[in-house]
Subunit: 243 residues, 2 copies
């Protein structure tokens, strides 16, 4: 049985303008791979309600789980929660449980609750809250969509809260074999090997190490014995120069 699938929706003008380099995609990709979930697609969209709503609807219909990052802070450009509510036809308002979390935090830190901070307690009807151990303002889950913050430390903490509740499959095992030959020399025999091992995937990633050309061939699969067999076949096909 193939592993469950996931998609990620990154929301934020700052990524698409080049101001900020996204870090959450790479983090989530690694976590999902270890958890046995295939990250099948990532989209990055602007802070635009129509774009967010359309992407949410399509991704949540096509994949088992969707993770979003960004747009749940207190400022006017934080429109993710309202877009999620609109995408699923839910009402949204300040919710008492979320407001209580924030109020307790502000009471301790001596900050005032105001209209902007109250925006972070706007949660779609029926959503489950996602704990935020870093800065308290919660994420939330609606149907198969987990809505999380864009700040990497908060995103990572929320992924840790959510992942135990996401059904995983067999973790993807991966072994990398460096081959010191041009990718054009590797490709033929590698393609034949890949055709023979249908349950294992072979990726070829060329490198140039100070003028020494080659490729890392990455063997991936969920069956330990098959991955090992494929790696030993690779070693026979492409003997190491200095072995």
């Amino acid at each position: 049985m193939p592993n469950p699938t996931a998609a990620m929706l990154v929301i934020g003008d700052e990524i698409l303008s080049g101001r900020t380099r996204d870090a959450n995609m790479h983090f989530l990709a690694g976590e999902l791979t270890r958890h046995g979930v295939t990250l099948a697609e990532v989209r990055v969209v602007l802070d635009d309600a129509d774009a967010i709503i359309a992407a949410l609807r399509e991704l949540s219909a096509r994949f088992d789980t969707v993770f979003t990052s960004g747009g749940i802070g207190p400022t006017h450009d934080d429109i993710t929660a309202d877009a999620v509510a609109a995408a699923f036809g839910l009402s949204i308002d300040v919710r008492d449980d979320a407001r209580a979390l924030l109020q307790a935090h502000y009471d301790v830190t001596g900050r005032e609750m105001n209209e902007a901070r109250l925006r972070m307690a706007r949660i779609p009807d029926g959503a489950r809250l996602i704990e935020n151990p870093v800065s308290v303002a919660p994420g939330f889950t609606v149907e198969n969509v987990h809505v999380m913050a864009g700040v990497p430390s908060v995103f990572q903490a929320m992924v840790a809260s959510v992942l135990p509740h996401v059904t995983g499959g067999a973790p993807l095992l991966s072994q990398s074999v460096p081959v010191f030959r041009g990718e054009g020399d590797i490709a033929g025999p590698l393609g034949a090997l890949a055709a023979e091992f249908e349950d294992v995937s072979f990726g070829s990633y060329p490198f140039d190490r100070n003028g020494v050309f080659g490729a890392n061939v990455v063997v991936r699969g969920t069956d330990h014995a098959r991955v090992n067999l494929a790696v030993s076949r690779l070693a026979t096909l492409f003997p190491q120069r200095d072995a």
Copy 2:
């Protein structure tokens, strides 16, 4: 008139598995912003023909220009050229001009042309070649889609070849103003200012510098005077503590 729009399609299992951290999206985002093109969406998909074809068709219909990265090397997992041909209903085969470029390169470097390397000369009918000054194997342009390599040094060189032919608008100007107050305190006045300046966008990006909380407010627009006016209004709203 709003700036021209673009989308990017990143093709590669290695990004979605977390093995490789994509570098091309951040690079392209910065280049397009400087060129006056709005990068409106990025998608990352697996090495899967159906996924690539569907994304190409949708993005090329919705945006002025599409840039792809990845999947044009010599190995069995390099399926982008065939997917592009299928998406636009074009035939594809080894093309003499592309083959000649590769042959000349292999003649100099003493490598043999073989079936795998010939794959890199497979170019859809009617496509224009994109020069690759790094490793010769060309990219190509079909309709409004520029198909480029995933290796960052090659991708960057191909962007440099292509960008002069892409219609740009007014470059997006950007100024960043650090505000040493909690984002929840900034949000109210900032939202009011944003409502007043409809031709300028205001983004708020919280930071925590060793326990000093604040946010960088980024003002973006294409009119220099308006951006400057917005920045001076921001400075009045949020005086610097140590000024």
